[in-house]
Protein backbone atom coordinates (compact mmCIF):
# COMPACT_ATOMS: atom_id res chain seq x y z
CA UNK A 1 0.00 0.00 0.00
CA UNK A 2 2.80 2.33 1.04
CA UNK A 3 4.56 1.30 -2.10
CA UNK A 4 1.63 2.03 -4.40
CA UNK A 5 1.06 5.34 -2.65
CA UNK A 6 4.68 6.32 -3.21
CA UNK A 7 4.42 5.41 -6.90
CA UNK A 8 1.16 7.26 -7.52
CA UNK A 9 2.14 10.36 -5.54
CA UNK A 10 5.48 10.46 -7.33
CA UNK A 11 3.66 10.25 -10.67
CA UNK A 12 1.59 13.30 -9.69
CA UNK A 13 4.45 15.37 -8.35
CA UNK A 14 4.87 17.39 -11.52
CA UNK A 15 1.27 17.58 -12.57
CA UNK A 16 1.85 19.56 -15.76
CA UNK A 17 4.67 17.31 -16.93
CA UNK A 18 2.71 14.17 -16.15
CA UNK A 19 -0.41 15.59 -17.79
CA UNK A 20 1.51 16.48 -20.96
CA UNK A 21 3.12 13.04 -21.08
CA UNK A 22 -0.24 11.34 -20.57
CA UNK A 23 -1.72 13.58 -23.28
CA UNK A 24 1.07 12.53 -25.65
CA UNK A 25 0.40 8.90 -24.84
CA UNK A 26 -3.32 9.35 -25.41
CA UNK A 27 -2.66 10.86 -28.83
CA UNK A 28 -0.18 8.10 -29.71
CA UNK A 29 -2.35 5.22 -28.51
CA UNK A 30 -5.39 6.74 -30.22
CA UNK A 31 -3.51 7.28 -33.50
CA UNK A 32 -2.08 3.79 -33.33
CA UNK A 33 -5.54 2.32 -32.75
CA UNK A 34 -7.07 4.27 -35.63
CA UNK A 35 -4.26 3.40 -38.04
CA UNK A 36 -4.48 -0.29 -37.10
CA UNK A 37 -8.24 -0.11 -37.63
CA UNK A 38 -7.66 1.38 -41.08
CA UNK A 39 -5.42 -1.61 -41.86
CA UNK A 40 -8.09 -3.97 -40.51
CA UNK A 41 -10.69 -2.21 -42.66
CA UNK A 42 -8.46 -2.79 -45.66
CA UNK A 43 -8.49 -6.51 -44.97
CA UNK A 44 -12.13 -6.68 -43.86
CA UNK A 45 -13.27 -8.15 -47.18
CA UNK A 46 -10.77 -10.98 -46.87
CA UNK A 47 -11.48 -11.49 -43.19
CA UNK A 48 -15.22 -11.75 -43.76
CA UNK A 49 -14.94 -14.12 -46.73
CA UNK A 50 -16.72 -17.44 -46.27
CA UNK A 51 -14.60 -20.58 -46.75
CA UNK A 52 -17.30 -22.24 -48.87
CA UNK A 53 -17.42 -19.46 -51.46
CA UNK A 54 -15.24 -19.39 -54.54
CA UNK A 55 -14.84 -16.69 -57.16
CA UNK A 56 -14.30 -17.54 -60.81
CA UNK A 57 -12.94 -14.84 -63.08
CA UNK A 58 -11.28 -14.57 -66.47
CA UNK A 59 -7.74 -15.93 -66.15
CA UNK A 60 -6.27 -12.96 -68.02
CA UNK A 61 -7.61 -10.29 -65.68
CA UNK A 62 -10.70 -9.07 -63.92
CA UNK A 63 -11.31 -6.54 -66.66
CA UNK A 64 -11.98 -9.35 -69.12
CA UNK A 65 -15.45 -10.89 -68.99
CA UNK A 66 -16.64 -14.48 -69.36
CA UNK A 67 -19.59 -15.83 -71.36
CA UNK A 68 -22.86 -16.23 -69.47
CA UNK A 69 -22.97 -19.82 -70.70
CA UNK A 70 -20.25 -20.67 -68.17
CA UNK A 71 -22.82 -20.36 -65.38
CA UNK A 72 -24.54 -23.65 -66.19
CA UNK A 73 -21.28 -25.47 -66.86
CA UNK A 74 -19.90 -24.35 -63.48
CA UNK A 75 -23.12 -25.43 -61.79
CA UNK A 76 -22.55 -28.89 -63.28
CA UNK A 77 -19.12 -29.28 -61.66
CA UNK A 78 -19.08 -31.82 -58.85
CA UNK A 79 -19.20 -30.15 -55.43
CA UNK A 80 -20.83 -26.92 -56.65
CA UNK A 81 -24.07 -26.03 -54.91
CA UNK A 82 -24.93 -22.65 -56.37
CA UNK A 83 -23.58 -20.13 -58.87
CA UNK A 84 -24.34 -16.44 -59.20
CA UNK A 85 -23.18 -14.08 -61.93
CA UNK A 86 -21.93 -10.69 -60.74
CA UNK A 87 -20.68 -7.57 -62.49
CA UNK A 88 -18.99 -4.52 -61.05
CA UNK A 89 -21.10 -1.58 -62.18
CA UNK A 90 -18.96 1.41 -61.25
CA UNK A 91 -21.68 4.08 -61.45
CA UNK A 92 -21.54 7.62 -60.06
CA UNK A 93 -24.21 8.82 -57.68
CA UNK A 94 -24.59 12.57 -58.32
CA UNK A 95 -20.88 13.26 -57.75
CA UNK A 96 -17.68 11.26 -58.19
CA UNK A 97 -16.89 11.70 -54.52
CA UNK A 98 -19.98 9.67 -53.62
CA UNK A 99 -18.22 6.38 -54.08
CA UNK A 100 -19.85 3.10 -53.08
CA UNK A 101 -19.62 -0.39 -54.58
CA UNK A 102 -22.44 -1.39 -56.94
CA UNK A 103 -22.94 -4.92 -58.22
CA UNK A 104 -25.34 -6.45 -60.69
CA UNK A 105 -26.03 -9.94 -59.32
CA UNK A 106 -28.15 -13.02 -59.86
CA UNK A 107 -30.26 -11.96 -56.94
CA UNK A 108 -31.79 -15.31 -55.90
CA UNK A 109 -28.64 -17.44 -55.70
CA UNK A 110 -26.42 -14.51 -54.66
CA UNK A 111 -28.40 -13.59 -51.55
CA UNK A 112 -28.80 -17.32 -50.90
CA UNK A 113 -25.02 -17.55 -50.60
CA UNK A 114 -24.51 -14.35 -48.59
CA UNK A 115 -26.61 -15.24 -45.60
CA UNK A 116 -24.84 -12.55 -43.59
CA UNK A 117 -26.90 -9.99 -45.53
CA UNK A 118 -30.19 -9.94 -43.62
CA UNK A 119 -33.13 -8.71 -45.72
CA UNK A 120 -36.78 -8.42 -44.75
CA UNK A 121 -38.60 -11.19 -46.66
CA UNK A 122 -41.45 -9.01 -47.95
CA UNK A 123 -39.02 -6.34 -49.11
CA UNK A 124 -36.86 -8.96 -50.77
CA UNK A 125 -39.87 -10.37 -52.65
CA UNK A 126 -40.70 -6.83 -53.80
CA UNK A 127 -37.09 -6.50 -55.00
CA UNK A 128 -37.32 -9.78 -56.95
CA UNK A 129 -40.52 -8.58 -58.63
CA UNK A 130 -39.06 -5.24 -59.70
CA UNK A 131 -36.53 -5.59 -62.54
CA UNK A 132 -35.17 -2.11 -61.69
CA UNK A 133 -35.17 -2.93 -57.99
CA UNK A 134 -32.13 -2.56 -55.76
CA UNK A 135 -31.06 -3.75 -52.33
CA UNK A 136 -28.82 -1.37 -50.39
CA UNK A 137 -26.84 -1.89 -47.22
CA UNK A 138 -27.76 -0.16 -43.97
CA UNK A 139 -24.57 1.90 -43.81
CA UNK A 140 -25.01 3.06 -47.40
CA UNK A 141 -28.69 3.90 -46.79
CA UNK A 142 -27.78 5.90 -43.68
CA UNK A 143 -24.96 7.71 -45.46
CA UNK A 144 -27.09 8.94 -48.37
CA UNK A 145 -30.51 8.82 -46.74
CA UNK A 146 -31.84 6.09 -49.06
CA UNK A 147 -35.20 4.69 -48.04
CA UNK A 148 -37.34 1.90 -49.45
CA UNK A 149 -39.26 3.36 -52.36
CA UNK A 150 -36.63 5.93 -53.31
CA UNK A 151 -35.34 6.13 -56.87
CA UNK A 152 -31.57 6.24 -57.12
CA UNK A 153 -30.01 7.51 -60.35
CA UNK A 154 -26.56 6.26 -61.24
CA UNK A 155 -24.40 7.57 -64.06
CA UNK A 156 -22.76 4.56 -65.67
CA UNK A 157 -19.04 4.63 -66.42
CA UNK A 158 -18.38 1.05 -67.51
CA UNK A 159 -21.95 0.86 -68.85
CA UNK A 160 -22.63 4.43 -70.06
CA UNK A 161 -25.93 6.20 -69.63
CA UNK A 162 -28.17 7.14 -66.76
CA UNK A 163 -29.59 4.22 -64.86
CA UNK A 164 -32.56 4.47 -62.52
CA UNK A 165 -32.98 2.04 -59.65
CA UNK A 166 -35.78 1.65 -57.14
CA UNK A 167 -34.69 0.89 -53.59
CA UNK A 168 -36.82 -2.11 -52.61
CA UNK A 169 -34.96 -3.43 -49.60
CA UNK A 170 -32.29 -2.46 -47.10
CA UNK A 171 -30.07 -5.24 -45.79
CA UNK A 172 -28.58 -5.39 -42.32
CA UNK A 173 -25.34 -7.11 -41.40
CA UNK A 174 -25.36 -10.32 -39.37
CA UNK A 175 -22.64 -8.76 -37.21
CA UNK A 176 -20.72 -5.46 -37.05
CA UNK A 177 -18.02 -6.79 -39.36
CA UNK A 178 -20.47 -7.36 -42.23
CA UNK A 179 -20.09 -4.91 -45.09
CA UNK A 180 -23.34 -2.96 -45.39
CA UNK A 181 -22.06 -0.30 -47.75
CA UNK A 182 -22.97 -2.08 -51.01
CA UNK A 183 -25.63 -1.57 -53.64
CA UNK A 184 -27.06 -4.61 -55.46
CA UNK A 185 -29.40 -4.78 -58.41
CA UNK A 186 -30.53 -7.43 -60.92
CA UNK A 187 -27.92 -8.77 -63.30
CA UNK A 188 -30.76 -9.52 -65.76
CA UNK A 189 -31.67 -5.81 -65.84
CA UNK A 190 -28.08 -4.91 -66.62
CA UNK A 191 -27.84 -7.57 -69.35
CA UNK A 192 -31.14 -6.64 -70.98
CA UNK A 193 -30.19 -2.97 -71.10
CA UNK A 194 -26.70 -3.76 -72.41
CA UNK A 195 -28.26 -5.95 -75.09
CA UNK A 196 -30.21 -2.92 -76.30
CA UNK A 197 -27.46 -0.35 -76.01
CA UNK A 198 -24.26 -2.33 -76.61
CA UNK A 199 -25.26 -5.67 -78.11
CA UNK A 200 -21.68 -6.94 -78.45
CA UNK A 201 -21.19 -6.68 -74.66
CA UNK A 202 -24.31 -8.64 -73.78
CA UNK A 203 -24.24 -12.00 -71.98
CA UNK A 204 -20.87 -11.21 -70.47
CA UNK A 205 -20.17 -11.80 -66.82
CA UNK A 206 -17.47 -10.20 -64.64
CA UNK A 207 -17.23 -12.94 -62.02
CA UNK A 208 -19.13 -16.02 -60.94
CA UNK A 209 -19.56 -16.48 -57.23
CA UNK A 210 -19.68 -20.19 -56.51
CA UNK A 211 -20.94 -21.90 -53.38
CA UNK A 212 -19.50 -25.33 -52.69
CA UNK A 213 -20.78 -28.08 -50.45
CA UNK A 214 -17.53 -28.67 -48.57
CA UNK A 215 -14.92 -25.96 -47.82
CA UNK A 216 -12.24 -28.67 -47.58
CA UNK A 217 -12.74 -29.36 -51.28
CA UNK A 218 -12.18 -25.72 -52.31
CA UNK A 219 -8.89 -26.43 -54.11
CA UNK A 220 -10.24 -29.52 -55.86
CA UNK A 221 -13.44 -27.79 -57.04
CA UNK A 222 -11.48 -24.72 -58.15
CA UNK A 223 -9.21 -26.88 -60.27
CA UNK A 224 -12.20 -28.74 -61.71
CA UNK A 225 -13.89 -25.47 -62.73
CA UNK A 226 -10.73 -24.11 -64.36
CA UNK A 227 -10.14 -27.46 -66.10
CA UNK A 228 -13.62 -27.19 -67.62
CA UNK A 229 -12.63 -24.02 -69.50
CA UNK A 230 -9.03 -24.88 -70.33
CA UNK A 231 -8.07 -24.04 -73.92
CA UNK A 232 -11.28 -22.03 -74.35
CA UNK A 233 -11.36 -18.39 -75.49
CA UNK A 234 -11.92 -17.29 -71.89
CA UNK A 235 -9.94 -19.50 -69.56
CA UNK A 236 -10.84 -19.06 -65.92
CA UNK A 237 -9.08 -18.61 -62.63
CA UNK A 238 -11.01 -19.86 -59.64
CA UNK A 239 -9.91 -19.16 -56.08
CA UNK A 240 -11.45 -18.90 -52.66
CA UNK A 241 -13.27 -15.69 -51.91
CA UNK A 242 -10.58 -14.89 -49.32
CA UNK A 243 -7.76 -15.25 -51.87
CA UNK A 244 -9.73 -13.15 -54.31
CA UNK A 245 -10.15 -10.36 -51.73
CA UNK A 246 -6.51 -10.56 -50.67
CA UNK A 247 -5.57 -10.19 -54.33
CA UNK A 248 -7.30 -6.80 -54.25
CA UNK A 249 -5.55 -5.77 -51.06
CA UNK A 250 -2.19 -6.80 -52.50
CA UNK A 251 -2.61 -4.20 -55.25
CA UNK A 252 -2.47 -1.54 -52.55
CA UNK A 253 -0.16 -3.37 -50.17
CA UNK A 254 2.44 -0.59 -50.21
CA UNK A 255 -0.11 1.78 -48.70
CA UNK A 256 -1.03 -0.75 -46.03
CA UNK A 257 2.65 -1.27 -45.18
CA UNK A 258 3.17 2.49 -44.99
CA UNK A 259 0.22 2.85 -42.61
CA UNK A 260 1.55 0.04 -40.43
CA UNK A 261 5.01 1.65 -40.31
CA UNK A 262 3.56 5.06 -39.43
CA UNK A 263 1.51 3.51 -36.62
CA UNK A 264 4.65 2.06 -35.05
CA UNK A 265 6.64 5.27 -35.66
CA UNK A 266 4.02 7.09 -33.58
CA UNK A 267 4.64 4.62 -30.75
CA UNK A 268 8.40 5.02 -31.11
CA UNK A 269 8.09 8.82 -30.84
CA UNK A 270 6.04 8.62 -27.65
CA UNK A 271 8.54 6.11 -26.32
CA UNK A 272 11.27 8.72 -26.76
CA UNK A 273 9.13 11.38 -25.04
CA UNK A 274 8.30 9.04 -22.19
CA UNK A 275 11.93 7.93 -21.79
CA UNK A 276 12.93 11.59 -21.56
CA UNK A 277 10.28 12.23 -18.91
CA UNK A 278 11.42 9.27 -16.83
CA UNK A 279 15.08 10.20 -17.23
CA UNK A 280 14.34 13.74 -15.98
CA UNK A 281 12.28 12.34 -13.13
CA UNK A 282 15.00 9.95 -12.01
CA UNK A 283 17.70 12.61 -12.28
CA UNK A 284 15.70 15.01 -10.10
CA UNK A 285 15.11 12.38 -7.43
CA UNK A 286 18.58 10.92 -7.25
CA UNK A 287 19.09 12.17 -3.67
CA UNK A 288 15.81 10.50 -2.65
CA UNK A 289 16.89 7.22 -4.17
CA UNK A 290 20.24 7.55 -2.38
CA UNK A 291 18.39 8.23 0.88
CA UNK A 292 16.24 5.14 0.41
CA UNK A 293 19.34 3.08 -0.28
CA UNK A 294 21.05 4.53 2.80
CA UNK A 295 18.03 3.54 4.89
CA UNK A 296 18.54 -0.04 3.69
CA UNK A 297 16.25 -0.33 0.68
CA UNK A 298 17.81 -2.35 -2.10
CA UNK A 299 18.32 -1.40 -5.75
CA UNK A 300 15.27 -3.48 -6.71
CA UNK A 301 13.01 -1.32 -4.52
CA UNK A 302 14.35 1.88 -6.05
CA UNK A 303 14.15 0.45 -9.58
CA UNK A 304 10.60 -0.75 -9.07
CA UNK A 305 9.54 2.70 -7.89
CA UNK A 306 10.62 4.12 -11.26
CA UNK A 307 9.14 1.23 -13.23
CA UNK A 308 5.88 1.53 -11.32
CA UNK A 309 5.68 5.25 -12.00
CA UNK A 310 6.43 4.75 -15.68
CA UNK A 311 3.81 2.02 -15.96
CA UNK A 312 1.26 4.12 -14.06
CA UNK A 313 1.69 6.99 -16.53
CA UNK A 314 1.62 4.59 -19.49
CA UNK A 315 -1.50 2.90 -18.11
CA UNK A 316 -3.30 6.24 -17.70
CA UNK A 317 -2.45 7.25 -21.27
CA UNK A 318 -3.37 3.81 -22.56
CA UNK A 319 -6.74 3.69 -20.79
CA UNK A 320 -7.73 7.14 -22.02
CA UNK A 321 -6.39 6.43 -25.51
CA UNK A 322 -8.36 3.19 -25.80
CA UNK A 323 -11.49 4.78 -24.37
CA UNK A 324 -11.25 7.52 -26.99
CA UNK A 325 -10.50 5.14 -29.87
CA UNK A 326 -14.11 3.95 -30.06
CA UNK A 327 -15.93 7.29 -30.34
CA UNK A 328 -13.21 8.81 -32.52
CA UNK A 329 -13.28 5.66 -34.69
CA UNK A 330 -17.06 6.04 -35.10
CA UNK A 331 -16.64 9.70 -35.99
CA UNK A 332 -13.87 8.86 -38.47
CA UNK A 333 -15.96 6.10 -40.04
CA UNK A 334 -18.89 8.48 -40.43
CA UNK A 335 -16.62 11.10 -42.03
CA UNK A 336 -15.17 8.52 -44.42
CA UNK A 337 -18.64 7.49 -45.55
CA UNK A 338 -18.51 4.23 -47.50
CA UNK A 339 -14.79 4.41 -48.26
CA UNK A 340 -14.22 1.87 -45.48
CA UNK A 341 -17.14 -0.57 -45.64
CA UNK A 342 -16.27 -1.96 -42.22
CA UNK A 343 -14.51 0.29 -39.73
CA UNK A 344 -14.69 -1.29 -36.32
CA UNK A 345 -12.04 -1.25 -33.60
CA UNK A 346 -11.24 -4.91 -33.01
CA UNK A 347 -10.28 -6.68 -29.79
CA UNK A 348 -6.94 -7.43 -31.45
CA UNK A 349 -6.30 -3.71 -31.94
CA UNK A 350 -7.11 -2.98 -28.29
CA UNK A 351 -4.72 -5.75 -27.22
CA UNK A 352 -2.02 -4.24 -29.45
CA UNK A 353 -2.64 -0.80 -27.94
CA UNK A 354 -2.21 -2.26 -24.45
CA UNK A 355 0.93 -4.14 -25.47
CA UNK A 356 2.45 -0.99 -26.98
CA UNK A 357 1.63 1.07 -23.86
CA UNK A 358 3.15 -1.60 -21.62
CA UNK A 359 6.25 -1.73 -23.82
CA UNK A 360 6.56 2.07 -23.70
CA UNK A 361 6.17 2.04 -19.91
CA UNK A 362 8.79 -0.66 -19.43
CA UNK A 363 11.36 0.48 -22.00
CA UNK A 364 11.13 4.14 -20.91
CA UNK A 365 11.93 3.10 -17.35
CA UNK A 366 14.89 0.83 -18.14
CA UNK A 367 17.70 3.37 -18.28
CA UNK A 368 16.53 5.51 -15.31
CA UNK A 369 15.96 2.29 -13.30
CA UNK A 370 19.48 1.14 -13.99
CA UNK A 371 20.88 4.53 -13.10
CA UNK A 372 18.90 4.88 -9.89
CA UNK A 373 19.55 1.31 -8.81
CA UNK A 374 23.28 1.82 -9.26
CA UNK A 375 23.47 5.26 -7.70
CA UNK A 376 26.38 5.64 -5.33
CA UNK A 377 24.79 6.63 -2.02
CA UNK A 378 27.39 9.25 -1.12
CA UNK A 379 27.24 10.89 -4.55
CA UNK A 380 23.45 10.58 -4.65
CA UNK A 381 23.07 12.33 -1.30
CA UNK A 382 25.06 15.23 -2.72
CA UNK A 383 22.84 15.45 -5.79
CA UNK A 384 20.59 18.48 -6.03
CA UNK A 385 17.08 17.75 -7.32
Amino acid sequence: MHYLRLILRNALRHKLRTALTVFGLVVAILSFGLLQTVVDAWYSGANNAAPNRLVTRNAISLTFAMPLAYRERIRAVDGVQAVAAANWFGGIYIDKRNFFPQFAVDAGPYFGMYREYRVNEDDFRAFLRDRKGAVVGRKLADTYGFRVGDTVPLQGTIFPGTWQFNVRAIYEGADPSTDTSQFFFHWEYLNETVKQRFPRRADSVGVFVVEIDNPDRAAEVSQAIDATFRNSLAETLTETERSFQIGFVKQTEAIVIAIRIVSYVVIFIILAVMANTMAMTARERMSEYATLKALGFGPAFVGTLILGESLAIAFAGCALGIALTFPVGDWFAAKMGTLFPVFAVSAGTVMLQMACAAAVGIIAALFPMRRAARVNIVEGLRAVG
Binding site: H2, L6, R9, E288, K293, A294, L295, G296, G298, V378
Partner: protein, 240 residues
Protein backbone atom coordinates in the same frame (compact mmCIF):
# COMPACT_ATOMS: atom_id res chain seq x y z
CA UNK B 1 24.53 14.30 30.44
CA UNK B 2 24.45 11.06 32.28
CA UNK B 3 24.72 7.40 31.32
CA UNK B 4 27.73 5.11 31.31
CA UNK B 5 29.84 4.10 28.37
CA UNK B 6 30.45 0.45 27.73
CA UNK B 7 32.60 -1.53 25.30
CA UNK B 8 33.64 -0.18 21.93
CA UNK B 9 30.84 -0.11 19.43
CA UNK B 10 32.98 1.27 16.62
CA UNK B 11 36.57 0.18 16.10
CA UNK B 12 38.52 1.92 13.37
CA UNK B 13 42.12 0.85 12.78
CA UNK B 14 44.46 2.23 10.16
CA UNK B 15 41.59 3.28 7.89
CA UNK B 16 42.38 5.23 4.78
CA UNK B 17 40.22 6.51 1.97
CA UNK B 18 41.22 7.91 -1.37
CA UNK B 19 39.18 8.98 -4.34
CA UNK B 20 40.19 8.64 -7.94
CA UNK B 21 39.78 11.78 -10.02
CA UNK B 22 40.74 10.72 -13.52
CA UNK B 23 44.30 9.46 -13.32
CA UNK B 24 44.88 11.27 -10.05
CA UNK B 25 44.38 9.60 -6.66
CA UNK B 26 43.20 12.06 -4.02
CA UNK B 27 43.74 10.91 -0.43
CA UNK B 28 40.93 12.00 1.92
CA UNK B 29 41.62 9.99 5.08
CA UNK B 30 44.94 8.55 6.17
CA UNK B 31 45.64 6.06 8.92
CA UNK B 32 42.60 6.82 11.05
CA UNK B 33 42.43 5.05 14.37
CA UNK B 34 39.37 5.66 16.49
CA UNK B 35 37.23 3.76 18.94
CA UNK B 36 33.75 4.83 19.90
CA UNK B 37 32.15 3.29 22.94
CA UNK B 38 28.53 2.21 22.99
CA UNK B 39 26.44 5.04 24.40
CA UNK B 40 28.94 7.72 23.40
CA UNK B 41 28.00 10.99 21.71
CA UNK B 42 30.89 12.12 19.57
CA UNK B 43 31.28 15.24 17.48
CA UNK B 44 33.56 15.14 14.45
CA UNK B 45 34.90 18.59 13.73
CA UNK B 46 37.26 20.02 11.22
CA UNK B 47 37.53 22.44 8.33
CA UNK B 48 35.90 21.77 4.97
CA UNK B 49 37.67 18.98 3.13
CA UNK B 50 39.18 17.55 6.29
CA UNK B 51 37.41 14.23 5.70
CA UNK B 52 34.92 14.30 8.57
CA UNK B 53 31.86 13.50 6.39
CA UNK B 54 33.85 10.76 4.66
CA UNK B 55 34.67 9.21 8.03
CA UNK B 56 31.00 9.43 9.01
CA UNK B 57 29.99 7.73 5.73
CA UNK B 58 32.45 4.91 6.40
CA UNK B 59 31.06 4.37 9.90
CA UNK B 60 27.52 4.40 8.50
CA UNK B 61 28.38 1.80 5.86
CA UNK B 62 27.46 3.94 2.88
CA UNK B 63 31.05 4.16 1.69
CA UNK B 64 33.94 1.75 1.79
CA UNK B 65 37.48 2.47 2.98
CA UNK B 66 40.45 2.03 0.66
CA UNK B 67 42.32 0.27 3.45
CA UNK B 68 42.28 -0.58 7.14
CA UNK B 69 39.79 -2.29 9.44
CA UNK B 70 36.37 -0.97 10.37
CA UNK B 71 34.13 -2.82 12.78
CA UNK B 72 30.77 -1.57 13.87
CA UNK B 73 28.67 -3.48 16.38
CA UNK B 74 30.99 -6.42 16.04
CA UNK B 75 30.71 -6.64 12.26
CA UNK B 76 33.55 -6.03 9.85
CA UNK B 77 31.45 -3.93 7.49
CA UNK B 78 34.24 -3.59 4.94
CA UNK B 79 33.78 -7.25 4.11
CA UNK B 80 30.03 -7.16 3.61
CA UNK B 81 28.67 -7.40 0.07
CA UNK B 82 26.28 -4.64 -1.05
CA UNK B 83 23.01 -6.44 -0.28
CA UNK B 84 24.13 -7.54 3.17
CA UNK B 85 25.49 -4.08 3.89
CA UNK B 86 22.06 -2.58 3.04
CA UNK B 87 20.39 -5.01 5.45
CA UNK B 88 23.02 -4.20 8.07
CA UNK B 89 22.38 -0.46 7.70
CA UNK B 90 18.64 -1.00 8.04
CA UNK B 91 19.20 -2.87 11.29
CA UNK B 92 22.01 -0.86 12.87
CA UNK B 93 22.18 2.71 11.53
CA UNK B 94 19.86 5.65 11.89
CA UNK B 95 20.59 8.61 9.58
CA UNK B 96 20.08 12.30 10.28
CA UNK B 97 21.00 14.47 7.30
CA UNK B 98 21.67 18.19 7.08
CA UNK B 99 18.79 18.71 4.64
CA UNK B 100 16.52 16.18 6.38
CA UNK B 101 16.10 14.04 3.21
CA UNK B 102 12.44 13.30 3.83
CA UNK B 103 10.29 11.93 1.01
CA UNK B 104 8.28 14.98 -0.07
CA UNK B 105 5.29 12.90 -1.21
CA UNK B 106 4.90 11.14 2.14
CA UNK B 107 3.38 12.59 5.30
CA UNK B 108 5.39 12.88 8.49
CA UNK B 109 3.88 9.63 9.73
CA UNK B 110 4.61 7.81 6.46
CA UNK B 111 8.17 9.12 6.39
CA UNK B 112 8.83 7.82 9.89
CA UNK B 113 7.16 4.52 9.03
CA UNK B 114 9.38 4.07 5.96
CA UNK B 115 12.29 2.13 7.58
CA UNK B 116 9.79 -0.25 9.15
CA UNK B 117 8.74 -1.40 5.66
CA UNK B 118 11.95 -3.40 5.75
CA UNK B 119 10.69 -5.32 8.77
CA UNK B 120 7.93 -7.87 9.06
CA UNK B 121 5.80 -5.73 11.36
CA UNK B 122 2.12 -5.49 10.43
CA UNK B 123 0.89 -2.16 9.07
CA UNK B 124 -1.08 -1.23 12.19
CA UNK B 125 1.92 -1.74 14.44
CA UNK B 126 4.16 0.19 12.04
CA UNK B 127 1.81 3.15 12.19
CA UNK B 128 1.53 2.90 15.99
CA UNK B 129 5.31 2.94 16.38
CA UNK B 130 5.71 5.81 13.93
CA UNK B 131 3.11 7.85 15.81
CA UNK B 132 4.93 7.13 19.08
CA UNK B 133 8.25 8.22 17.57
CA UNK B 134 6.69 11.45 16.37
CA UNK B 135 5.20 11.99 19.80
CA UNK B 136 8.65 11.56 21.28
CA UNK B 137 9.99 14.40 19.10
CA UNK B 138 6.97 16.56 19.95
CA UNK B 139 5.14 16.30 16.63
CA UNK B 140 1.98 14.40 17.59
CA UNK B 141 -0.08 17.12 15.97
CA UNK B 142 1.77 16.96 12.67
CA UNK B 143 1.29 13.32 11.70
CA UNK B 144 -0.50 13.99 8.43
CA UNK B 145 1.56 16.99 7.42
CA UNK B 146 3.80 16.78 4.37
CA UNK B 147 7.43 17.97 4.70
CA UNK B 148 6.60 21.11 2.72
CA UNK B 149 4.05 21.98 5.40
CA UNK B 150 6.63 21.79 8.19
CA UNK B 151 9.37 24.18 9.31
CA UNK B 152 13.03 23.19 8.98
CA UNK B 153 13.24 22.33 12.69
CA UNK B 154 10.10 20.22 12.50
CA UNK B 155 11.39 18.40 9.40
CA UNK B 156 14.62 17.60 11.21
CA UNK B 157 12.63 16.26 14.15
CA UNK B 158 10.69 14.04 11.75
CA UNK B 159 14.04 12.88 10.37
CA UNK B 160 15.21 12.09 13.91
CA UNK B 161 12.01 10.12 14.54
CA UNK B 162 12.69 8.21 11.31
CA UNK B 163 16.28 7.60 12.40
CA UNK B 164 15.29 6.05 15.74
CA UNK B 165 12.12 4.22 14.68
CA UNK B 166 13.89 0.93 14.03
CA UNK B 167 15.93 1.23 17.26
CA UNK B 168 19.32 1.32 15.51
CA UNK B 169 22.62 0.62 17.23
CA UNK B 170 24.16 3.92 16.15
CA UNK B 171 22.89 7.27 14.94
CA UNK B 172 24.95 9.19 12.40
CA UNK B 173 24.20 12.86 11.91
CA UNK B 174 25.80 14.96 9.20
CA UNK B 175 25.53 18.65 10.10
CA UNK B 176 22.08 18.11 11.64
CA UNK B 177 21.77 21.78 12.58
CA UNK B 178 23.52 23.20 9.53
CA UNK B 179 20.29 24.30 7.88
CA UNK B 180 18.45 25.46 10.99
CA UNK B 181 18.05 28.71 12.86
CA UNK B 182 19.44 28.92 16.40
CA UNK B 183 16.17 28.04 18.14
CA UNK B 184 15.44 25.04 15.95
CA UNK B 185 19.05 23.92 16.24
CA UNK B 186 18.74 24.03 20.03
CA UNK B 187 15.63 21.88 19.89
CA UNK B 188 17.31 19.33 17.65
CA UNK B 189 20.46 19.22 19.74
CA UNK B 190 18.39 18.87 22.88
CA UNK B 191 16.58 15.98 21.32
CA UNK B 192 19.84 14.29 20.38
CA UNK B 193 21.13 14.77 23.89
CA UNK B 194 18.01 13.11 25.26
CA UNK B 195 18.37 10.20 22.85
CA UNK B 196 21.92 9.72 24.05
CA UNK B 197 21.31 10.29 27.74
CA UNK B 198 17.93 8.68 28.22
CA UNK B 199 17.89 5.96 25.56
CA UNK B 200 21.62 5.34 25.46
CA UNK B 201 21.86 5.88 21.73
CA UNK B 202 25.38 6.07 20.34
CA UNK B 203 25.64 9.18 18.22
CA UNK B 204 28.32 10.29 15.79
CA UNK B 205 27.73 13.85 14.62
CA UNK B 206 29.62 15.86 12.05
CA UNK B 207 29.44 19.57 12.65
CA UNK B 208 31.15 22.84 11.89
CA UNK B 209 29.42 24.52 14.77
CA UNK B 210 31.43 24.62 18.04
CA UNK B 211 28.22 25.36 19.90
CA UNK B 212 26.64 22.16 18.58
CA UNK B 213 29.84 20.21 19.24
CA UNK B 214 29.77 21.25 22.88
CA UNK B 215 26.59 19.20 23.31
CA UNK B 216 28.55 16.01 22.55
CA UNK B 217 30.39 14.00 25.17
CA UNK B 218 33.54 13.93 23.11
CA UNK B 219 34.96 15.95 20.23
CA UNK B 220 37.31 14.58 17.62
CA UNK B 221 39.14 16.92 15.27
CA UNK B 222 40.16 16.03 11.76
CA UNK B 223 42.54 18.02 9.64
CA UNK B 224 43.72 17.16 6.16
CA UNK B 225 42.46 13.63 6.54
CA UNK B 226 44.17 12.93 9.82
CA UNK B 227 42.84 12.74 13.34
CA UNK B 228 44.32 15.24 15.71
CA UNK B 229 45.27 13.86 19.10
CA UNK B 230 42.51 14.12 21.68
CA UNK B 231 43.56 15.89 24.87
CA UNK B 232 41.04 14.09 27.02
CA UNK B 233 39.42 17.30 28.11
CA UNK B 234 35.67 17.62 28.25
CA UNK B 235 33.83 18.32 25.07
CA UNK B 236 32.73 21.70 26.31
CA UNK B 237 36.25 22.66 27.07
CA UNK B 238 37.61 21.61 23.71
CA UNK B 239 34.95 23.24 21.66
CA UNK B 240 34.79 26.42 23.55
Amino acid sequence: MGGCLSANLVHIAGVSKAYRRGAEVVPVLENINLDIAAGDFIALMGPSGSGKSTLLNLIAGIDKPSGGALEVAGTDITALPEAELAAWRARHVGFIFQFYNLMPVLTALENVELPLLLTTLPAAERRERAAAALAMVGLSDRLSHYPSELSGGQQQRVAIARAVISDPTILVADEPTGDLDRRSAEEVLGLMERLNAELGKTIVMVTHDPHAARRARRIVHLEKGELLPEDGASAAGQAG
